[in-house]
């Protein structure tokens, strides 16, 4: 056993938010914390990003909502959630028992809804940051996804920025041609950080029934299968903006997390891996410490963006 002369630090800051380590749960994969409470020590996580909430409760899609794919899964949950009031009354009190920063992911069907949610949450104590999910279709603009259009991203982030005074993270969809342009719009509109990627649009077919495996036909792909796509987009985003970038997409091990950190992400989120191995985040945190130890580093921030491209 190696005796450390200096203590290894995994501490990192995202804007004004200080994290004990760069590992967070990804929205939609960790519920509101209580679900995994018997398996994971919530206090050891860098942050918890909860399931996204909307203004009113959303029922979600009919089943089938999930389908396994090679090294991944498709989901079409339909953003089922308890709504802002349900979250504040039923879910937040449990989380506030812990020391871990709570990041509230939120969504809307229109600009007005995003603003309304942000406005309500501004009055609530115990929330470290908001993560804005712009992968929602704008029903007022014919269902065009907010996050696919730089102008719409700028508009909606600007409007939310006015309502929310703490850390604002904007979570981007990968289903675009130029992620850098989208990221820049969010930055210009006042985002404090960018997190990406959300799920990649995909589908699967049951060849015996000759039906789509998902009730909505098309869903979002997550898991190890999307890691190369996510990593590339994180790297492109790091080039495009000055604000911190949080990497998401197929991270299951410390090795995966390191790829994102080396590419320039300040922190990472772990999603699908939680289903398969509830201890994944704990193992990643331990793995990062071990990597630093092996490489004679004491501060993991030395790794961030240390990718050598020439």
């Amino acid at each position: 056993m190696v005796t450390r002369s200096k203590k290894i630090s995994l501490k990192v800051k995202i804007g004004g938010l200080a994290l004990k380590n760069p590992v967070m749960s990804a929205s939609g994969t960790f519920g509101y914390g209580e679900e995994y409470n018997s398996l994971v020590d919530l206090n050891r996580l860098g942050a918890i990003v909860v399931k996204g909430i909307s203004l009113e409760p959303w029922p979600g899609n009919p089943t089938p909502r999930i389908a396994e794919t090679t090294a991944g899964m498709l989901n079409a949950i339909g953003l089922q959630n308890v709504g802002v009031e349900g979250f504040v009354e039923e879910k937040l009190p449990f989380l506030r028992q812990f020391e871990v920063p709570v990041v509230v992911n939120f969504l809307g069907k229109s600009l007005k809804e995003y603003v309304a949610v942000a406005r309500k949450l501004e009055e609530v104590e115990g929330i470290a940051a908001l993560e804005m999910n712009v992968s929602c279709p704008n029903v007022k603009a014919g269902g065009l996804v907010f996050g696919t259009d730089p102008k719409r991203v700028k508009e909606v982030v600007k409007a939310v920025r006015k309502e929310w005074s703490s850390l604002l993270i904007v979570k981007l969809t990968p289903n675009v041609t130029d992620i850098g342009a989208i990221a820049r719009s969010a930055e210009e509109a006042g985002a404090d950080a960018i997190s990406l990627i959300n799920t990649v649009r995909g589908m699967a077919i049951d060849i015996n029934e000759r039906k789509p495996k998902l009730a909505t036909v098309v869903g979002g792909l997550s898991g190890p299968a999307i890691k190369p796509i996510a990593l590339r987009m994180v790297w492109e985003t790091v080039q495009a903006v000055e604000i911190p970038v949080i990497g998401i997409g197929g991270i299951t091990t410390a090795e995966d997390a390191l790829e994102f950190l080396i590419a320039g992400a300040r922190a990472v989120q772990v999603g699908t891996a939680n289903f398969i191995n509830p201890l994944a985040m704990m193992e990643i945190i331990q793995g990062l410490e071990r990597y630093l130890e092996i490489h004679g580093m004491t501060d993991f921030r030395e790794l961030i963006g240390s990718l050598k491209t020439s």
Binding site: T29, S38, P59, T63, Q80, G223, F275, I276
Partner: protein, 283 residues
Amino acid sequence: MIQQKKAVPLLEDASILSHEEINTGYFRLRLSSPGMARAIIPGQFVMLRVDDRMDPILRRPFSVFRILSTHSPPFLEILYQVVGRGTRLLSLLPVGERVSLLGPLGNGFPIKEHKEVVLAAGGMGVAPLFALGEAIVKRAPNRTGTVFIGGKEKGDVVCAEEFEDIGFDVVITTEDGSLGKKGLVTRPLEKIMKALSENEARNTVLYACGPAGMLSSLARSAMARGIECYVSLEEKMACGVGACLGCVAPVITKESPSKGEPRSSYRCVCTEGPVFAAGEIQW
């Protein structure tokens, strides 16, 4: 919503004590898993992972078939059919191999041993119902119960002997008539339910597990006759703990939900089920 006890899942590595192919494509797996065996109750399930491969990636849910918590070593058994890549992979594992279990999950059956017990099993539905049967017999050794087992053909009827061994009357139906009565398992059950007097109906409890069509048919009949009825549902699962919201069943929402209660009409089969009262589900 039935709350037997709130499941507090743990992760436990279990070693394979025995692994038998009891009928073509049907396997009985005995696992040494002390923590799980001591905590799990009939109706609950585990999410099983074979190794750390990426493909197939998701854990697979299996209802507990037998629970021997006082045995040495404490073990549990699952009964499964090879239906896809996950189960095929599992079926290859030899004795001594270790698997990862996440559980106990779900809410378990409410045991009403003071009533006449009728079990209705379609296909692999026998698995959780056998665990229930054993628990009922333990609680009320002098009570008799009846189990109706339905399958497509003879090879799909597994577990009939096991029910007989614990004192249940067994009625078998196969769609092709190769064993027992020909037809769907719902037919003899409907007949019996119709024939019950009001008093008899009130003193009967029906537990059902099987394909959705079978469950909706039985549920409707049971409710129409005032028979207490519980169904164990099945849905594709990813997390098993109520985080992903993938495995939902449509439920009948209350007129005026209490403040803060989710107003969604979908409930997770993994946490608020798999056992539901027939009247809760939107069939």
